[in-house]
C-alpha cells in the first residue's frame, strides 16, 4: 500500500505533477519574456502563463455543435495532461529520489511522449472544424516524420550504454544516468553525436515550436486542433504543453548530459541547465526564423534527423 501511495505522490506532486507544472510554467514565462526582450519589447510579466491559466478558468467551455462526440471532445485534454504528468514522473531529476522502476523505463516514456500528439489529432478531428481537420492532418504528418528519429535516438543510447555495461541494452533511465556518471557524459561520445543532432531537431517538433509549429500555426490554421477549445479545456492543453517542455528537456539532459554535482546543488544546476537550454535553444531560434511548410518539414525530418539517427545506431551496433 505504501509503495502505491509513494507512486501516486511521485506522479501527482514530485518529481512529476506539481513540480513539473511549476517548472514548465516558469520556463514558458521566461521564454515569452526573453522573446520580447530579443525583439526590443518589454514583454509580459514572468508569471504571465499562470495569469493566463487563471483567466481560462473563468471562461466558459463551449462544445461546438459540429463536435462528433462531446465526451471525447472534453476528455481528450485530460488524457494529454495525465500522460505528461506520468511521463514527468519517469524523468530522473538530480537531488530528488530516483523514479521508481515500477513506473516504467525509457520505452514507456517514448510511448507517453506520443500521446499528446495523438490527443491533439483526436481533438482536431472530433471538433468538426475545418481548421481542426487541417491541424489534425498536419500533426499526423509531422508526427510520422519525427517519431522515427526519436525511437532510433533512444535505441542508440540504450544499446551504447548496454554494450559498455555488458548487457544487450540498458532501458532504465536511472541506469543510463549512473553509467554516464561513471564513464563520462554521452555528450562527449562522438559515436552518439548524430543521435544528439537528431534529438535537437526532435525537440521543437514535438513541442510545436517555430520552425515546426505547423499544426498549431495561428496565422494559417487558427491554432489548428485547438481552434474550438475555450476556457478550462484549453487551459488543460496549455498545462500539457508546459509539462511536455519539461519532460522533453529532462529526457535530453538524461540521455546526453546528466552530470551535475551531488545533492541539492545538483537540482539547482539541473534547473539552470533547463532554463539556459530553453532560452538559447528554443527562444532565440524561434524569434530568429520563420515557420516551415508542412511538406518542407516532413522532407527535412525524413532526410537529416532520420539519417543522423540511423547512422548513430548503425555505428553503435557495429562498434
Amino acid at each position: 500500500m505504501s509503495t502505491q501511495a509513494a507512486l501516486l505522490v511521485s506522479v501527482l506532486a514530485f518529481p512529476g505533477g506539481l513540480f513539473a507544472l511549476a517548472l514548465g510554467l516558469a520556463l514558458k514565462g521566461a521564454d515569452r519574456r526573453f522573446a520580447a526582450r530579443l525583439q526590443g519589447r518589454v514583454g509580459p510579466p514572468l508569471l504571465q502563463p499562470i495569469y493566463d491559466l487563471v483567466k481560462l478558468g473563468f471562461k466558459r467551455t463551449m462544445v461546438p455543435l459540429t463536435a462528433t462526440s462531446q465526451l471525447v471532445f472534453l476528455v481528450t485534454p485530460l488524457v494529454a495532461l495525465v500522460s505528461m504528468l506520468y511521463a514527468a514522473a519517469l524523468i530522473p531529476v538530480p537531488g530528488l529520489p530516483a523514479p521508481s522502476p515500477q513506473l516504467g523505463n525509457v520505452l514507456v516514456l517514448v510511448y507517453l511522449l506520443a500521446i499528446p500528439g495523438v490527443a491533439l489529432m483526436v481533438a482536431g478531428s472530433v471538433s468538426g472544424s475545418t481548421y481542426g481537420a487541417i491541424g489534425f492532418s498536419r500533426e499526423m504528418a509531422l508526427m510520422l516524420a519525427y517519431e522515427g528519429p526519436i525511437v532510433l535516438v533512444v535505441a542508440a543510447v540504450a544499446l551504447r550504454t548496454g554494450a559498455a555495461e555488458g548487457q544487450f541494452a540498458v532501458l532504465s533511465l536511472t541506469e543510463i544516468v549512473r553509467h554516464q556518471q561513471v564513464h563520462g557524459a554521452n555528450l562527449f561520445d562522438p559515436v552518439l553525436w548524430p543521435a544528439l543532432i537528431a534529438f535537437v531537431f526532435f525537440y521543437p517538433a514535438n513541442l510545436g515550436i517555430v520552425p515546426f509549429d505547423i499544426p498549431e500555426a495561428e496565422t494559417e490554421v487558427l491554432e489548428g486542433p485547438l481552434v474550438e477549445y475555450s476556457g478550462p479545456a484549453l487551459g488543460l492543453f496549455k498545462l500539457m504543453s508546459a509539462v511536455k517542455s519539461v519532460v522533453v528537456l529532462g529526457l535530453g539532459l538524461t540521455l546526453f548530459f546528466p552530470l551535475v554535482p551531488e545533492g541539492p546543488l545538483g537540482l539547482v544546476v539541473w534547473l539552470l541547465e533547463d532554463f539556459v537550454l530553453m532560452l538559447i535553444g528554443v527562444t532565440a531560434v524561434r524569434v530568429g526564423i520563420g515557420r516551415m511548410r508542412i511538406d518542407q518539414a516532413v522532407a527535412f525530418f525524413l532526410k537529416w534527423p532520420l539519417v543522423a539517427a540511423i547512422a548513430s545506431l548503425a555505428v553503435v551496433v557495429v562498434v
Binding site: 526590443g40 495569469y51 493566463d52 473563468f58
Partner: protein
Amino acid sequence: MNILTKFKDVAARSPWLYRINAGSCNGCDVELATTALIPRWDVERLGCQYCGSPRHADIVLITGPLTRHVRDAALRLFEEIPDPKVTVAVGVCPISGGIFRESYATCAPIDQWFPVDVNVPGCPPRPQAILDGVAKAIAIWRARL
C-alpha cells in the same frame, strides 16, 4: 478581500485580443499590428496576446464600417466568442462610417449590431489611443468576470 476577488484580479491580467476586420481599409489593422508588435507600444506588457481563434478571445477589436457583405459573418464570429467579452470599436468607421458613411454597402454605425463598450476614434487612431482603449476595455472586462 476574499479569494475570488483576488483570482479575478489575476485573471484580468491576461486579456487576449481578437481582431475582426469588418470591411476596414486595413489602416486601423496596420495600427493594431504595430501597436502590438513594435517595441515602443508593446501591448504584451498588459498581458495581451493576439489569438488566432475567436474561442480564445476576451477583448474583440472591430475595425471598419461593417460592410453588408461581411455583416452576417462578423455577427456569427462575434457569437463564437465565449463570455465574458468586451468589444472595442477601433477607428472612425465603426462610429459613423467614416469616409464610407454615404455608401449603400455599409451598415455603420456598428453599435446597431454589436454591443460596443469602447470607441477609439481616429483615422487611423494613434497607437497611444488604441492602448488607452485596450486599457479601458480591460477595466470593463474585470468588472464582468
